[in-house]
Symmetry: C2
């Protein structure tokens, strides 16, 4: 049995980043860049007006004849004399001769001529070519996370394809003779299998949308056989159940017989103690406890950062926030506790129903409060660390 | 022109929740419940062992003969006498006669009999029927957000279908003769169209995955015609560009001619001032500024809560966090500022490149710092409010 901190270090040390793939910018949300991107163009690609108004050559003059027009999308390079101006719109090409744009609100129009009532500074309201970025300059360094704004910036430079780290292929293997598929009749002694849909949904929150679910009977032979192809085809294998110490828990043995190396088994925490973590080549195996709340807790604490590591993220863990505690906490277990809790802008309340079999409190919780194994009590009003799960 | 606060109120007042639909629990992540859910079964459905160990009738006795076994999934209702015990596993059916389970770590086994070394309290390690929830009890009230844990809880009760509020149908209409599709050659005076992929990605972050993008030329007639079917088929219409004061910005006129009621036009903020918000029946229209950074800012401030309102969310806005400022801020505009910023666990730094045309800073920002219109300066070290966008 190891402490949470050590378990996290072992997971991180074994979660190497995946290989790369080319992907269209349009589909790249949530991926991490695997290359440095250089700009193919300058942005803006030409001198642009930042305002609707008039472009002219700055001088002491206030009165101008309007001799042309430059709309967005045009390339009207009107020749200008000192007493001439061009009607211009936001984003439009500023004629080569012009150096300044006055906004239309500061101009009085009289037929084909204008009088500038409030003279702007020289070069005002003109966006220079390459003001945002010059051709060949770095757009993004490798390891940048692709956000909506990043997609917008890449697209505005005309970039349509980028190289990113792949998302891991994840499979779930469900064990347990007691399990019945929701929708079917529940005979005596059986319960509904809920961990696979729960874990699929949890994976979906971090962008893993296609997950194959396998089920297997509680027998060493069946589990061993089922694991073989699953270990070959996937980067991360989540196994639900069959990993506590009962005589009918075959998962660990089946894993070892399939050449999976044990990296740790059991963590000094509550819930979620009976977890096995191992690897076979680059494939990671998390044998999660069968109890739903334990399973989901360990997903957030261990699987979540492993997925993010594989995808090349720099921040791989759930962010930590701090709030003032509304209840007293007693920890007489000597274990690290992950307590289902509801936090708001200022404080956090520990919910009732912390048993590892109970999902009710998890379903209304928006965070997990961490109580270190060597902390025996925390009094109301103390600041505690929360992992937000909403 | 109105203030940000008023604009937010108008958007909220006009974003009524959509109608409902039945959906499979498996696909319900991120939806909001539109019904109260009652449990069809008790959970656990029978008295369950919480441990691997032995079930027995609690008395002063310490020695027992093991007369049977109860595995998870079984329904072995072994008859027990006072001196008899049953080998039992976590989650398995506790025989009707037994009242207590002792964990195997506290037992010495000698052939077919056991000696309990550390006697548990009466009724220990037995999960009572309905301990988590009783049949007919409320599982979730209406308006509960469906999280991974909620999906798990519904599935473990055998529930396969629920009624939720629909997601809005969203379309994007892109205007601007200056725009060229990324991947094509950029002729003089043109720029790449990036707002549609950026807004699609932003919508994806809140679960709106299918968005139709339409493009139209800068003419009143074309815009008017294009809008007609789009307004009919969608719950939310985002229009990109064509809404500032230039002579070639036809969007507002085209909207009014299509029977869209103006709810506000222009907000006292920077970036993002030239925005039109209107409605036609229950369809909302956001005519967003063409400048990418303005467009994305207004997405987060106005479109985001409207989508969440339509879907029945209680918390519709981006959460607000507070950090200490690393720079001084001067606001001589009299407008509410939304500044691209990078925050960490303790502080926040305002980024360079705040111009409304610039996406670079947005692409590396993880938050928007709000500077109220009536705040003229904020000094370094002051706590400021941030909208996290990561």
């Amino acid at each position: 049995m190891i402490e949470v901190k050590e378990a996290l270090e072992i997971v991180a040390a074994n979660s190497s980043v995946l290989s790369t793939q080319k992907i269209s910018v349009q589909k790249a949300l949530g991926y991490v860049l695997a290359e440095t991107i250089y700009s193919p163009i300058s942005m803006p690609p030409f001198r642009q007006s930042a305002m609707d108004g008039y472009a002219f050559i700055h001088s002491r003059r206030h009165q101008f004849d309007v001799v042309g027009i430059s709309q967005a999308g045009d390339h009207a390079n009107v020749k200008l004399k000192e007493n001439q101006a061009v009607r211009i719109f936001t984003g439009a090409y500023v004629p080569n001769d012009a150096d300044t744009v006055v906004m239309q609100e500061h101009v009085m129009v009289n037929g084909d001529s204008i009088l500038i009532a409030k003279m702007p500074e020289p070069f005002a309201n003109v966006r220079n070519k390459g003001e945002q970025i010059s051709a060949e300059d770095v757009v993004f360094d490798a390891n940048t996370l692709i956000t909506p704004a990043a997609i917008g910036f890449l697209a505005c430079l005309g970039i349509t394809e980028i190289t990113v780290y792949k998302k891991p292929k994840v499979a779930i293997l469900v064990t347990g003779n007691e399990l019945v598929k929701p929708g079917k009749k529940l005979s005596k002694g059986k319960i509904y299998e809920s961990n696979s849909v729960m874990l699929q949904a949890a994976l979906q929150t971090i962008g893993i949308n296609k997950v194959k679910v396998h089920t297997v009977k509680d027998s060493l032979k069946a589990t061993k056989k089922a694991l073989q192809p699953i270990l070959k085809k996937n980067d991360i294998v989540l196994i639900s159940g069959g990993i506590s110490v009962g005589d009918y828990d075959f998962v660990k043995e089946a894993l070892l017989k399939n050449g999976v190396e044990e990296l740790f088994y059991k963590i000094n925490q509550k819930p979620g103690k009976p977890m096995f973590f191992g690897s076979k080549k680059d494939t990671l195996v998390f044998a999660l406890p069968g109890n739903p709340a334990s399973s989901l807790t360990n997903f957030y604490i261990y699987v979540y950062p492993a997925v993010k590591n594989k995808m090349g993220f720099s921040n791989t863990h759930l962010p930590k926030i701090v709030r003032k505690l509304e209840n007293d906490i007693v920890n007489d277990t000597g274990k690290t506790l992950f307590l289902k809790a509801l936090y708001n802008e200022t404080s956090v309340t520990i919910l009732e129903g912390q048993a590892s079999s109970m999902l009710n409190s998890f379903a209304i919780a928006n965070g997990l409060v961490i109580v270190p194994h060597d902390t025996e009590s925390i009094t109301k009003g103390t600041s505690v660390t929360i992992l937000p799960i909403d």
